[in-house]
């Protein structure tokens, strides 16, 4: 036990592009993207609910597609564009999805909200006219315990209409 802990952990220099900014970091190879975002880059908007790929809370976008940051290693995604919740708004201007979530009460405790917003953004970029069932399908990997999902569906539909 002691030897295992005191041996040098392999560290590598990795360059990650997060929200359009490139940063080089010296990281243990086994550290997940979730941990790197939160602990090394202080981007704590990305939340975690299980760290096992079960709840969708830690969703980020990789090249625009939703991925679970708790199951990714930074070494897998060098050179690819990572978007976190901090990168959704344009400066102080909320993204239409964020604005719709505010207006329709789609965030209660707010903990699942970053992941759901990013999954929804990916959906709307691929499909600007989703049906309610298509929204359900796209967001089915994101659990929410507060809202009963209803206001989230309404907010995604409102944002979709405004973005078209």
């Amino acid at each position: 036990m002691r030897n295992e802990l005191t041996r040098d952990v392999e560290r590598v220099v990795l360059t990650l592009e997060v929200n359009g900014e490139r940063r080089a970091l010296l990281l243990p190879v086994h550290k997940t993207l979730l941990e790197v975002l939160r602990e090394d880059m202080l981007l704590t908007g990305t939340k975690h609910g299980c760290e096992l790929g079960e709840c969708g809370t830690c969703t980020v976008l990789i090249d625009g597609k939703p991925e679970l940051s708790c199951l990714l290693l930074p070494i897998q995604i060098q050179g690819r564009a990572i978007t976190t919740i901090e990168g959704l708004a344009s400066g102080s201007q909320l993204h239409p999805l964020q604005q719709a979530f505010v207006e329709l009460g789609a965030a209660q405790c707010g903990y699942c909200t970053p992941g759901i917003l990013l999954s929804a953004r990916s959906l709307l970029e691929e499909n600007p006219h989703p049906t309610r069932d298509e929204i359900r399908e796209a967001l089915a990997g994101n659990l929410c315990r507060c809202t009963g999902y209803t206001k989230i569906l309404e907010a995604v539909e409102l944002a979709a209409g405004r973005m078209r």
Partner: protein, 787 residues
Amino acid sequence: MSDRPHLSPASGEVNSLRVVGKRLPKVDAATKVTGRAVYADDMLPARTLHCRILRSPHPHARILSIDTSAAKRIPGVIAVITGADLPVKFGILPVTQDERALEHEKVRYVGDPIAAVAATEEEIAAAACDAIAVEYEVLEPVMSIEAALAQPKDERIQDYGGPNNIHKFVSLEFGDMDGGFARAAHVREDVFFFQGNTHLPMEQHSAVATYVDGRVTLWSSTQVVHYVHRALAKVLELPMNRIRVIGAAHGGGFGGKTDPFAHEIVVAKLAMLTGRPVKCTLTREEVFYAHRGRHPVLMWVKTGVTADGRITAMHFRSALDGGAYGSYGVASTFYTGALQTVTYDIPAYKFEGCRVFTNKPPCGPKRGHGTPQPRFAIELHLVKIALDLGLDPVDLKRRNFVEPNTRTVNWLRVTSCGLEECTDLVLRASGYRERQRRPGHGMGFAISSYLSGAGTAIYWNDMPHSEVQIKVDRGGVTAYCGAMEIGQGSDSVLATIVAEELGLQPSEIRLVTADTDTTPIDLGSYSSRVTFMAGNAALEAARKMRAMLVEAVEAAGRTYDEVTFEEASVLAEARFGTLTSAGSYTPPKLAGPYKGSGVGPSPAYSYSACVVDLDADVRTGLVTVNKVWIAHDVGRAINPLLVEGQVEGSVYMGLGEALMEEQVFRKGLHKWPSMLEYKSPTFLDTPEIQTFIVETVDREGPYGAKEAGQGPLLPVPPAVCAAVHDALGVWIDEIPVTPEKVVEALRRKGKGEPARYGPPRFPDIPFPPAIKVEPPPKDLDASTAQI
């Protein structure tokens, strides 16, 4: 600033409400959608140490020795503590101070905390926990209600309560039971079981502590900073003025973060020892074991009715599987018997309840605290009685609805009651009466009621349950309150009420909340009490502030309509100096004249009615809910958007409990302590929910408001079961309604056996003789004695 609305002289009048009743965004919404809200695990003060807790692998064992020497030698380990460092017991209820932050004598469930490590890295702390050697004497675990009622093979789980592993008995009788049953034309008995389930908040519990200048500061994901404050003071043996507890942004509670927890005490102790910040975030598996969720409850109910379905007497028994510790369990036990009378007029009522200890994670309060289980039982029981009599179940229930402004046989004061309107709305919208019969399709109806805050505090005192202070200077308004925003909209309600009174918008009110150093007390976000109690405190503080502003404006020879809020505040500050006001709320003394009357009274009760429409597959037993209609009497919606959110979330959670969620153990181990295996409804499983808000304008609620966060869960499980019966002709008298149970009930039906899946019998429990209580005088406002 020119668009700032003018102070309205009549803003206290409900017919001129400007912001109350409007669909306004939550005041913290923008913070949350941008990822800027700071939850406890988001905090990482400089030099933070990471804490992991060693937990028992055995459900029941004596600890013979704990050797931490190897753990302490691991580089990066800064401190290791055991129960010897934190020997003082605590517990949420004064009568059950039975927990230790770290246990060094005996463990009572898998997951019971034993030792804690603070290290420079979380991985090192986890490895150090693995290096702690604990020697156990394994004891026979007690894993069921039946086993807990029997003589223990080795020893009892706790050294109080009894006989055997019984924790608590309740036995109360109101009115003339013998006479009630004697005049009944029909008497029926049923047995039901409601399986335990857990809150499953998206955020894992987390706490960060610092120790600076002899003072502990703790940021935690808690629903109740005040109770954590009290527990820390007791266990750390520090005066409360040397401890500060701050509620971090909160990622979901549902009752699960209402107890003080071991990790909160442990990080504070480790911060004191190391002089460094210490953080502990539970893993998801640990969250399942921390639990404090829905009690599994076995229930027996016997009711007498007249030929036209009027209830003449009811006898209700409950047996709660409490898990290893007291938690809120004494209150939970009373709650399984308290609120039956708040929806139906029951002239004679007897309640016998019993909570047992088992070697499982402690159960406590989850949304509806102790009342969804009996609500499930009583709603289905009345449907069965109606069918026995050839009556329509909805008609039978309606015939027994309580009237507004009455007092129940167990002395609960009912004020506003919108049961009739709620029922009309969901029946009409759902087309319940006119539905076309088709195979496998069913609809079910149920009602419920819940507290707008518990009428008595957890620890006996005469102080207010909520206090609010307001500061105004140079046009800025700050409201201070201990209330904890957990996503339900507590901050928005406070801001809305203050804004309403001062003639502002909620977004213009700065809030300082849930900080034991800077905010006055609020007893926290549980029992649906914040809108009613903190809301009333805010109303009082805001009206006092408005009176000062008005006086100063008038003294200057102006009228309210002429001046902006800034002008009013400058005039008032010049006249009075520092502008502060305070308000508080203490519930009226409502408890009846009997021991145990403290559980059940509330200044007002919410009411709900619900219709569930579903299809049930006769081959697979799979139930698909198509739609839920729900009407909720919230008194007045301070913000209808947020009320709808609470109702929709309640319905969703009720569907999860009804159809899939269960906390089940095998040899002391949780069968599925993960979010994948513990099934909860996803976007795909949650049907359309149509919500109707009913406003009865309660006479004591702020602007007439009552609760919304818990009551609407309650009618959902029984409405699901009633609909399954409607669809397939089988009774599933046990929650959750899994496909296996439906298929088994259909198999029994096919063989000509009773078409039912559920518990066969209620165990023989040596309930003590009932305390007989005279019914209250008919006059609603007759004074009630205090115990």
